[in-house]
């Protein structure tokens, strides 16, 4: 792809522009990956509103920007990426696609000519320890470039010891890295009732810290949803209908994840890391 000849810094601009077009445009115009606009808008202007209005959370950083080298390499070598979604289920809502289908659409519309294969393997109620075994098997069977892992909620509800959860998540992320698979973690869901729950809070912090330690992208879903919820409700009152909140939750999650993937693939330089191991297609 033409991106291999890009100038340093160009990738970042491309990613930002792509994000802006994908997430901000109502039409979701198709864009060729290598083609940069002749007069790109400033990064600041784009970053101020990279998401649809219902998903904007001001200046809060929703995802840490980190490279996704295996996704970048797959895009370059195969013009396709295979994403394995593990965790909560993805389903249509009022005519809108499920969140993983939405991610697939957003990425394909942003990256013209790129095929995004989304493999949904969520098992509901599953603890991280069980997901760990399944992730390894699914990687062996499906050979994805990226794993989207929604983790923590079931473990928090089942009061799995924090150290066990930390070890499971760390080991799994490490294993994926050693097997040339990128990972993006989506953290806990937000609901008012859990805001004061010490264990829930501890699991949230544990996931964030593990992501920092292991240098993987984590979507700060809880914080984002909390801000959206607080913005939506009249001051000092209880949420009007908190039972309806799950839909925008997943719609926004799709946007956050798709943007994190775009930035991860392009934002930190277009070249995949020079490695001696085999490309994913031959793993």
């Amino acid at each position: 792809m033409a991106r291999t000849r890009a100038r340093p810094g160009f990738g970042k601009i491309t990613a930002v522009v792509l994000s802006a077009i994908v997430f901000n445009s109502a039409a979701w115009a198709q864009v060729a990956v290598p083609a940069a606009p002749s007069t790109p808008p400033s990064a600041g202007a784009v970053l101020s509103s990279p998401y649809s209005p219902e998903c904007r959370v001001g200046n809060t950083e929703i995802a840490n920007e980190l490279p996704l080298p295996n996704v970048a390499r797959a895009l370059q070598s195969r013009k396709s990426i295979k994403i394995l979604a593990i965790g909560a289920s993805s389903f249509r809502h009022r005519g809108r696609a499920g969140y993983t289908a939405l991610i697939e659409t957003m990425l394909e519309q942003a990256l013209k000519g790129i095929d995004v294969v989304m493999i949904n393997r969520g098992v509901s109620g599953e603890l991280a320890a069980d997901a760990q075994v399944r992730i390894k098997n699914e990687v062996a069977i499906n050979e994805p470039d990226l794993v989207l892992w929604q983790v923590g909620t079931n473990d928090a509800l089942a009061f799995v010891p924090l150290e066990d959860l930390r070890a499971t998540v760390s080991e799994t992320v490490q294993w994926l890295r050693e097997h040339n698979v990128d990972v993006v973690i989506a953290g806990l869901q937000y609901v008012d009732r859990m805001a004061q729950d010490a264990h829930y809070k501890a699991v949230r912090q544990l996931l964030r810290q593990t992501a920092v330690d292991k240098k993987v992208i984590i979507i700060r879903r809880y914080e984002a949803m909390q801000m959206i919820a607080q913005a939506a409700m009249p001051s000092g009152t209880f949420a009007a209908d908190e039972f309806e909140r799950t839909d925008p939750g997943y719609q926004c999650l799709a946007q956050y994840l798709a943007r994190a993937i775009t930035l991860g693939a392009f934002g930190k330089g277009l070249r995949p890391p020079l490695r001696n191991d085999q490309p994913p297609s031959q793993r």
């Binding site: 389903f91 949904n120 109620g125």
Partner: protein, 386 residues
Amino acid sequence: MAQRADTPSTTTRRSGPRAANAVDFWRGYALIAIFINHVPGIYYARFTHTNISISDSADLFVFLAGWSLRIIVGLGDRHTPTRHIVLRVCGRALTIYAAQIMITMVAIAMLAATALILRNPLLLEWHNAAAVFQDPVPAHIGLAFITHQLGYFDILPLYVALMLMAPAIVVIDRFAPNFVLPISLALYTVVLAVPIPIPTWPVDGQWFFNPLAWQLIFVLGFVMAKPDAGVGAFVRQNMFWVRCVAVPIVMIGLIIVLLDWWPDPTKMPRPRLFFIAEKTYLTPLRLIQFLSVAAVFSLLYPTIRRLAAPLTDFLSMLGRNSLEVFCMGSLLSLSGQIVRFITKGNIGIDTGVVIVGVAIMALTAWLAEWRERARGQASARSQPSS
């Protein structure tokens, strides 16, 4: 596994429950193990054999379901018309389907009620229930067609699918018994080689238990329950040698699980499903280990019976009424999860969950048999006057 098929026909139920036997005993054990394992995070899950074995209670349950199909069909009875047997099997599929729909609706209501009482919408998303509440139009179609399954409520859909395949199994068994296992094995091989996932709908995903793969263990139970011909006869005649092979396999499985010596699945040859331990497709590693466990542990039943007759009576009672007990157990597992969530779970709560759960499962089995007895007595009373 290779205990003699000493489970009498279900027709004897009218005159009282059948005596304790190996099949019912192990099924009773599987029911309790499934109940405990379906409360994720519970302390006592560490004592189920899942922690020392590659296979788990689900394998045992489905194998024994196949064994039961042989009982339904009749062990050596070739006089019953084929269409009667097919109808009986289809009726059984309908009963299991009804049970699945019932427990699913109760589970949905339990999650909804808990969410409302606790004012916590997070619980609406637990166990794949979100689609029912957020996208009810397609979700209800999915529920009716069992393509939408709640988490941990996914064994009965497999059972329904297997019972829908059962008429074909029964007919082939009647007219060409030597073809049952080869056809099953061929289907299994194709499903693993391709592989062929069974999609869920409206939630994107696959059936946690792939019926096209799991039919093999069901068929194995079916053919091995036949004592006088085919694989069943061969295994019985060569039980000593079968166990000589099985013991090392069980030991190797034990070492792998205890020491976490799982081989890296990405280093396995292709098609990888033939070489990794995977539950959805019931891969050969898992299946062979299960058959070995069954061969070895079937040796233990007479000893357990001798040393702890009340235990065998108790578990056999659960096993005799497996569908009722399984349904109750599924709802008790979910109740256990809700209780643990509310009380923030500790060993005391977990102990209570297990004791109360097993007691209610036992009560369910006892009530089912009491009902059978009452029906039998009523029928006996009405006969002389008619």
